[in-house]
């Protein structure tokens, strides 16, 4: 009786494995053919290699820049700024959201200002930041933070408010203080929202930092892009883009790791 089930289970597992294999293979095929097509079309001059560069050129430049150490320098500057801007934007956003939850008066007072700040294109504030904080990494980090802080505040605050009142009833019937209610119910109940905000903020802080580096134009991957653009070295632009894509993906994976740790039972 039980044997036929075991066989079916084996069969099912095999099928599932095969399916996964096909998905991985298809993904790899897309990646390889993209680079292959890029290489071939530029080699045959269907696309102008001066404008679109080519994988082999990017690779050569990559090796070159690794040897002189400049790539590592620019990449680490940008990564540092992005991670800090990301943490700052998300952290401050959550803190402001907590304050708004704590004081309904404050939240009603600040409501219209949040709406204005949210609809404002934050990168337009770039020049003012640079004037105020100086043309260095401080203003770039602020740019990375600024771009995500308001939306984080709004999303997390509405998540705080959306927690089912009955959970609060339970905890308050034990005589919990407002702080205890926040730390044992409101905050942990919103972990899933916080994680999805983190995921959005990974992308946002990259935008802020790259634009900031465009404006300051001293160092970092954003500087490499704008410099490559100005001297018509598109291989440099492409190299920067590829590195940004890889790093942003790594950061996203990092957030997913946190997600797995934090939200096991929601």
């Amino acid at each position: 009786m039980k044997n036929h089930r075991k066989e079916m289970l084996q069969e099912y597992k095999k099928k599932e494995k095969k399916k996964r294999g096909w998905i991985k293979l298809s993904q790899l095929t897309i990646l390889v053919s993209f680079f292959l097509a890029w290489e071939v079309t530029t080699a045959l001059r269907w696309l102008d290699p001066l404008l679109f560069s080519s994988p082999s050129r990017v690779w050569a430049l990559f090796l070159d820049r690794i040897q002189d150490g400049s790539l590592f320098f620019h990449t680490s500057v940008t990564l540092f700024e992005t991670v800090l801007g990301f943490i700052l934007g998300t952290g401050v956003g959550i803190i402001i959201a907590a304050l708004l939850w704590w004081s309904p008066f404050l939240s009603r007072v600040l409501d219209p200002y949040l709406v204005i700040l949210n609809s404002m294109p934050k990168v337009a504030l770039g020049p003012i930041l640079i004037v105020g904080l100086g043309p260095g990494f401080t203003s770039i980090i602020f740019m990375g933070a600024l771009i995500s802080v308001i939306i984080t505040t709004m999303v997390i605050y509405s998540a705080f408010k959306g927690v089912d009142d009955n959970y609060l009833k339970v905890i308050q019937s034990f005589g919990a203080t407002k702080f205890q209610s926040f730390s044992t119910v409101i905050f942990p109940a919103c972990y899933p929202t916080m994680i999805s905000t983190l995921k959005v903020n990974v992308g946002l802080s990259w935008v802020g930092v790259i634009v900031g580096e465009f404006l300051v134009s001293q160092q970092g991957l954003g500087y490499m892009i704008i410099y490559g653009f100005q001297v018509f070295n598109f291989t440099l632009v492409m190299l920067s883009l590829v590195i940004i894509a890889i790093l942003a993906t790594c950061m996203y994976q990092g957030v997913e790791l946190i997600e797995k740790k934090l939200i096991r039972h929601h």
Binding site: V170, Q172, S173, F174, G175, P188, I263, H265
Partner: protein
Amino acid sequence: MAILELQDVEKTFFSLETMTTAIENINLTIEKGEFISFIGPSGCGKTTLLSLVSGLILPTKGQIILDGVPIEKPTPETGYMLQQDYLFPWLSIEENILLGLKILDKTSKEEKERPIKLLEQLGLLDKLKNYPYELSGGMRQRVALVRMLSTDPELLLLDEPFSALDYQSKLKLEDLVFSTIRAHKKTAILVTHDIGEAIAMSDRIILLAGRPGRIQNEFIIPKQLSQELPFKVRTSDTFNSLFQKIWKEMESSEESS
């Protein structure tokens, strides 16, 4: 000895457009160890009354006295059980039932033993490390019962705790809650719209009439019934005649209002 006294209690809710009086003229004394049920049509202010007793909201007029002290905010003296279990999904069963003690900063080993022992009595000790989503509805409500009793409150407030369960689990849980509460000699107030449940579980039934909610009538359940387990009460002859009596009274109040 009276554990709870409601003196001329009234609650009105205000908004910019309207004001609604949920209950008025409520005078009631509840003795220690009594099991009381509030029944009545929806909108008669049953849950408002319970929230008032719990201290989650304050009356607009009159006062509520628990053990000689007017209630001004939620106290650990009262336990609250809701329609759904509202176990915290991110906490294990153990963490859920110890939460109240943690809030009260009573985390000594002896204090923790109480709820764990109670969980054992309700047959769920093996679920200690599980999470709420792994349990059935009836099990979860049993855990909620343990959580309510974990801080050893004197007065238990039950807000339709069986209404979200299937019929079989509901009957079983009625017996379990009843015998647990009796064994610990607690005072309990049950809010329900189920007449049968009220008769099966209580010593005394308070019938409320709606809009604004007020006490319409009171029924004392005969001693020989109120001492029995709810399931047994449901099968007795007196149960049916009581049911008819309360049913008629409820009907007549709805017609007149």
